[in-house]
């Protein structure tokens, strides 16, 4: 299967290991992975700040890089949701997948050779969860499920623990993290407190942005808890 890897801008620049893990994992699972080299960004930072009208160039660049693919896969629920909801090209909107949903719904994997013998707290990022429906939502009267937990259950040795409030937002929120700095940090601290209560070694999730925010707080606190994107665990030998 031919897959275009969508690497969101901040992952490209600050979390290359997440893109590397995505690439390796997809290849391991038999995909032919193409990385369009002129890709930049999905346009979400502008659009969620009220400047959707300024993303014309960004959207065109994305289309230019990705329109030739039937499967565009990215390791970020938030960026993927933005593309699905707002990208002008219908082809793009219909071809883009968040990597976990791609693994469970398209590749339908049932085994993995990964090993990660650690206690891991799972953060359900809102856009992946409520936007892409990667898992059931605590507000809804619906049957519980979680594509992320299904995938983690294929990893050897990992022990997944959920925070007390299973799907509360971490407070990253794009530019919210700086324009509403006080609330944003408080929300992040509160999430971390719940993971700390579970004595986790790692916090994982499907959105690097949320993890980056929580990592910033963890490091300021001098915490030993580390963050890892879920593909890094799924790809861990």
């Amino acid at each position: 299967m031919r897959v275009a890897l969508f690497v969101p801008c901040y992952i490209d620049q600050f979390y290359p290991q997440v893109a590397v893990a995505s690439l390796e994992l997809l290849e391991k699972l038999g995909c032919e992975v193409v990385v369009p080299t002129d890709q930049t960004c999905c346009g979400q930072p502008m659009a969620n700040s009220g400047f959707a009208s300024s993303t014309v160039g960004c959207d065109a660049n994305f289309t230019h890089n990705f329109e030739g693919f039937d499967y565009i896969v990215g390791p970020s629920g938030s960026c993927v949701l933005h593309l699905k909801e707002h990208h002008p090209s219908e082809k793009i909107r219909n071809s883009v997948y968040e990597i976990c949903e791609f693994l469970t719904d398209v590749l339908r994997i049932t085994t993995l050779s990964a090993k990660f013998p650690h206690r891991v707290g799972l953060h359900q990022s809102c856009h992946g969860q409520r936007g892409l429906h990667l898992s059931s939502m605590s507000e809804r009267n619906e049957k519980p499920f979680s594509k992320l937990q299904d995938l983690l259950s294929l990893v050897n040795g990992v022990e997944v623990v959920m925070p007390a409030r299973e799907d509360e937002c971490c407070g990253f929120g794009g530019t919210f993290c700086v324009t509403e700095e006080a609330v944003s940090v408080k929300m992040g601290q509160d999430r971390i407190k719940e993971h700390d209560a579970n004595d986790v070694e790692y916090i994982t999730g499907a959105d690097t942005s949320c993890l980056m925010h929580m990592e910033g707080i963890l490091r300021r606190q001098g915490s030993k808890v580390q963050v890892k994107h879920i593909v890094e665990i799924l790809n861990h030998a």
Binding site: D12, Q13, T40, G50, H127, R130, E180, M187, G216
Partner: protein
């Protein structure tokens, strides 16, 4: 006036109180979750309620006229007000004709929206708010911080002190039971003496010309049934087509609001009591403008349960007053810009767009999507804070050009340590991510 982010910073400065506020409201949401999950038809019922509202809004003019003619036939005086000023003048006219100087009022967010109390005070009429939470904040000269739990920002110590000052309760007594009893005695005097009572309206039924008022305390009824004149104030969006529709809304309302099975009192006012004068004021105040905009029309479905407040992680940690509007929280943030874009340009940004609000909404308002639309409209109207427009355009330009993006990215990584400064809001309480030597694309090229 402080912006939402400034006011929130002040709120959060008291971490202990913020935690208490967050946990208390989370508990209310948990009760809502439990109550909603008992009913297997919950999600279908939300959809049904949403469709009733869609249908009503599509025929609002007809339903308003149907309601009007039925209500008049029932002996109710029907008034129409285009804006807050007209609304207040109508209410004042009715009170003045009665010659009352003190009146009682139960909870009505609409009268908050119109600043009715201040207006009547300027005419020499004292309004006694009779909902316990509202009476507490009224004594303190504050606005309600939550539309269902008006005094949720206060601790019992605060209430004890307020009652000590205004009702002469013993200093230091902070027992909720005792303080509630003191309010009961104090307000009973007002109920028995007042000749005019104002109430809000939860639902107005076009089919029958009746209106329904829901409370737990019984204060709306105590006021309305003892007064010679009852004035009910409502927005035009509170109309529903049929009496049977009430079943759906009453099942949803209390479960969504507090997790109760139903409010203690759901009173159906059909005709005035013998010898009583009953008025209803129908207010527009921007609602028709909202109705005409397909992006925002759905916000008129709101039944004021405040479930979106309780679930909102931002509201829980910033308090109602940080929204500087009578209706706070996510729903307030999509209602307020319709009234005044400039004054409320910060509110649609007081959200992470997590989407929990839309999930709990009993009438399925797409709140988080409307927040996104408002962000676009407000920026288009030129209401961006200083520097934001230039910053965003620069970012858009960079991200539209791969070459500039690559150069910019590598500069950003090389000099990211320069961002470790107090001027960077990220850095204030968080470390910056450690910049890797290579970007992914640089690594990939060499692979």
């Amino acid at each position: 006036m402080l912006s939402h982010s400034e006011a929130s910073e002040n709120f959060i400065a008291d971490a202990e109180r913020t935690d208490w506020h967050d946990e208390t409201l989370w508990f209310v949401r948990a009760k809502r979750d439990k109550a909603s999950k008992v009913l297997p038809e919950w999600e279908a019922m939300r959809e049904h309620a949403s469709q009733i509202k869609d249908h009503t809004l599509a025929n609002l003019g007809e339903y308003l006229q149907a309601f009007e003619s039925k209500a008049i036939a029932n002996g109710i005086h029907v008034h129409w007000a285009a804006d807050a000023a007209e609304h207040n003048a109508i209410v004042h006219g009715i009170i003045a004709a009665q010659g009352s100087k003190t009146i009682v009022k139960s909870k009505s967010m609409l009268t908050e929206e119109c600043h009715l109390n201040d207006y009547l005070a300027s005419k020499g009429i004292e309004v006694v708010d009779t909902d316990l939470g509202e009476r507490i904040v009224q004594f303190r000269n504050e606005a309600p911080s939550h539309i269902v739990l008006p005094a949720i920002h206060l601790k019992k110590e605060d209430v004890g002190e307020t009652f000590h000052q205004h009702l002469g309760t013993p200093k230091g007594n902070k027992d909720p039971q005792f303080l509630t009893e003191a309010a009961r005695q104090h307000l009973r005097g007002h109920f028995l003496a007042s000749e005019v009572a104002i109430t809000g309206v939860n639902f107005a039924v076009a089919e029958t010309g009746e209106f329904v008022v829901c409370t737990n305390e019984g204060n709306a009824d105590m006021g309305a049934h003892l007064a010679k004149v009852h004035i009910a104030c409502t927005g035009i969006e509170k109309i529903i087509p049929k009496r049977a529709d009430l079943a759906v809304f009453l099942r949803l309302l209390a479960r969504s609001a507090t997790g109760q099975l139903i409010t203690t009192y759901s009173s159906h006012f059909h005709k005035p009591r013998e010898g009583q004068e009953m008025h209803i004021v129908l207010l527009d105040n921007g609602r028709t403008r909202q109705l005409a905009d397909p992006k925002y029309k759905n916000s008129l479905k709101c039944i004021r349960c405040a479930a979106c407040f309780n679930t909102c992680p931002v509201y829980r940690r910033s308090g109602g007053h940080s929204y500087h509007q009578p209706v706070a929280g996510p729903i307030g943030s999509i209602l307020a810009p319709n009234i005044d874009k400039k004054a409320n340009a910060d509110l649609p940004f007081a959200s992470t767009l997590c989407g929990s609000c839309s999930n709990v909404c009993p009438v399925k308002i797409n709140i988080h999507e409307q927040l996104w639309f408002w962000r676009q409209d407000l920026m288009e109207a030129g209401l961006a804070p200083a520097g934001k427009t230039i910053g965003m355009k620069l970012m858009a330009f960079t991200l539209a050009n791969p070459v500039i993006y690559r150069v910019g990215g590598s500069l950003l990584r090389r000099f990211s340590h320069l961002l470790n400064t107090r001027l960077n809001p990220w850095y204030k309480q968080r470390e910056m991510p450690v910049a890797p030597k290579e970007s992914f694309q640089e690594w990939y090229k060499k692979r």
